[in-house]
Symmetry: C2
């Protein structure tokens, strides 16, 4: 019978092997006194199994404050635990309740992070994964051999529908590939969702008719289930190609429902993610997290960016990009969305470390605030990426490309 294996980074005042057994017991057949019906046969079939325990360092201070150890020592370890697929079948919420669930409540742990999930072969057949993924998003935008260049409508909130459409026109004429709503905006007092779709798609469709290039716009349809489905239909009917969802806020079941529609590329915005991962010994690692959303059908997933304005290290961003680009079954591969303080200067380090152009590379002010205008901003980003792939340094690229040189002068010291 197929099994699902979860890898955890734990910290415990107990012997790690003992703590791992508590974990396995709590998440399968555990209760605080033995009860009738808990036979050996049942345990064999449905009990979680500790597969390995790899001891790491011992520390004097618990990772999560408040917990105390009689010995004053806290042991860290990597533990692997497995469950039979018979426990839940193909049910992502119950999978999560089993692999995470009450584990964070267990006082034997002063730290616990879900690092990786190994899913069985049959998951690849049951779930169809991203309907578009990298190849589909390239096809929809007609962009090959370089990252898709994207931007976010700013200010995040407050622009009228007409102002938004005006910015979209500027950006489309500038040669942008992708534009998105901010996650703060879905339907505001002066930017009704349907009105925004009408106004924006009028611009995008006219531009496509004139040039053959259809800009992908990710409309933030996050909301209640029926509302999202109506908005989804509105985008489809208007000739749009993409819908954005704040995946953590909307939640796994409703995102899966949206992914199942398969007519639009799904832009998965991970806002709220810091809460789930920022502490090194609490929550879930991106490597495990991204698998769940790929199964739910997300086509594009945020990974932050090199030299970003947030807390995350470059190493962590690189690992996230690699996680997204790792194949998963025969499914389409999810497109990593690089964003946060990007202006093109980071293309060099991003390419050096990942050797990929399969990215949606997002720049905000880096485009709209370019000294020579938005078109020059988009071109500068394309130039930066061409230079990076050609093996040029940032300095050499600035010499070769005057437009990019202006970006370096304006944004290079940020």
């Amino acid at each position: 019978m197929e099994r699902i294996t979860a890898t955890y980074f734990i910290e415990t005042a107990f012997a790690p092997a003992k703590a791992a057994e508590v974990l396995a017991g709590e998440q399968s057949s555990g209760t605080f006194v033995a009860v009738p019906g808990e036979t050996e046969e049942l345990k064999q079939r449905f009990a979680a199994r500790v597969e390995s325990v790899e001891a790491l360092e011992t520390v004097d201070t618990p990772a999560i404050p408040g917990a105390t150890s009689a010995t004053g020592k806290y042991h860290r370890a990597i533990v692997k635990v497995s469950w039979s697929i018979e426990n839940f079948g193909y049910n992502l919420p119950v999978l999560i309740s089993t692999l995470q669930g009450n584990l964070y409540e267990i006082k034997q742990f002063t730290g616990l992070k879900l690092m990786e999930i190994d899913l069985p072969v049959s998951f690849g057949n049951h779930y169809s994964g991203p309907a578009f993924g990298i190849e589909g998003c390239r096809r929809l935008t007609n962009v090959n051999d370089r990252p898709l260049i994207g931007t976010i409508i700013k200010p995040s909130i407050g622009l009228s529908v007409e102002q938004t459409a005006g910015i979209v026109k500027t950006l489309a004429e500038a040669g942008i590939d992708f534009i998105k709503d901010d996650e703060l905006l879905s339907s505001s007092a002066n930017s009704n969702f349907n009105d925004r779709v009408d106004a924006v798609m009028k611009v995008i469709n006219a531009h496509a008719d004139a040039t053959g290039k259809k800009v992908m716009y990710a409309f933030n349809l996050s909301g209640e289930v029926d509302e999202m489905l109506h908005r989804y239909d509105k985008i489809v009917q208007s000739g749009g190609t993409c819908a954005m969802v704040s995946i953590n806020s909307v939640g796994l079941s409703a995102v899966k429902k949206i992914g199942d529609q398969k007519q639009l590329a799904i832009h998965g915005h991970r806002n709220g993610w810091g809460m789930l991962t920022r502490h090194p010994l609490l929550g879930i690692d991106f490597k495990a997290y991204q698998k769940l959303w790929r199964l739910a059908g997300v086509d594009q997933l945020h990974v932050n960016g090199i030299q970003n304005k947030f807390w995350e290290s470059d190493d962590s961003v690189v690992r996230s990009i690699e996680a997204c680009l790792a194949p998963m079954y025969h499914h389409n591969t999810v497109l990593p969305v690089v964003s946060s303080g990007q202006w093109g200067g980071q293309a060099f380090e991003t390419y050096r470390r990942t050797k990929t152009v399969d990215l949606l590379y997002m720049a905000g002010g880096g485009i709209m605030a370019h000294p020579m205008g938005a078109a020059a901003g988009v071109t500068a980003l394309q130039q930066a990426w061409k230079a990076a792939v050609d093996g040029l340094s940032l300095e050499a690229a600035a010499k070769q490309y005057p437009g990019f040189k202006k970006s370096v002068e304006k944004f290079g010291s940020k």
Copy 2:
């Protein structure tokens, strides 16, 4: 115009007032360079506003490891920030993306927890809240003037449908008010969801026909949206009165969809909650959290229990019970679900500190492993609560009630 106010507990290497401005900017009209269209008028209408900053202690070590301060000092504070309802209208996922969202990513914070949300009057009219709540659950179970006594089918996973129905029969005859699936079980290889509903409801309906008492069974329907709706209908058609949802795993939008059906009481299981709250300076406090789920229509919500087997302090559990019992608009009030290692002995401290019997009091082994059998286990819990309300001590209650005395002898040292 109505505003929504969020209260945060923050830690920052910067001046707290400065950090609060960063927070407000990031979650409304912030971008890293000024862009066209960002007018003063727009900012006035849509910008988040720092309402107050209350400085607390300064510490030498950041709450979240990895962050460093040039001064070596980290300042803690309570800050209140407000947004106009015009920014998002009535949209819980976008509310969450705004009040939490990327905030946890901001490097200016070495700790940030959302402590409270103050919602405007109109939310109370737009959302209808729990369809049943405390009064509805009392009506469905015909229990007045004492806590509903409940239990969880254990072992959590692995029992056949017939075994489960057999345990339900024993428990129904024992006088139980409420039974639930474990969060690890929705539909397993040997306990198909629909088959379990058939078998369990056959027992419950027969018992109701014979005695007039219908046991409330919370079937765990957690899964994909359509699957949950089908399961919901199955429960309704079979005469069931309650559906359980793992709220964090399923997510806000899909739980709202289930709550909107209004034919079954919704048992909101908060497994995964520890990840969101266990760190004192990361995530969200229960006081804010429970409001969201009440708006989504959850009728019963887990709060852990006094002297529980998990990490949570009694003080925290008491605060959670009080949060649930606080009125919210004209809505039905959500029923706090007390569980984890409960056997009746905690009734005294629970009542002393909360002065309420508006609880669903869950005991697992405390019922099934009672030395005189399940019926005596249920009776012992009722006795414990009667004694607690009557002002007896545990010791006095054990003298007065022989059944409860057996509980004390078996579970009292745990």
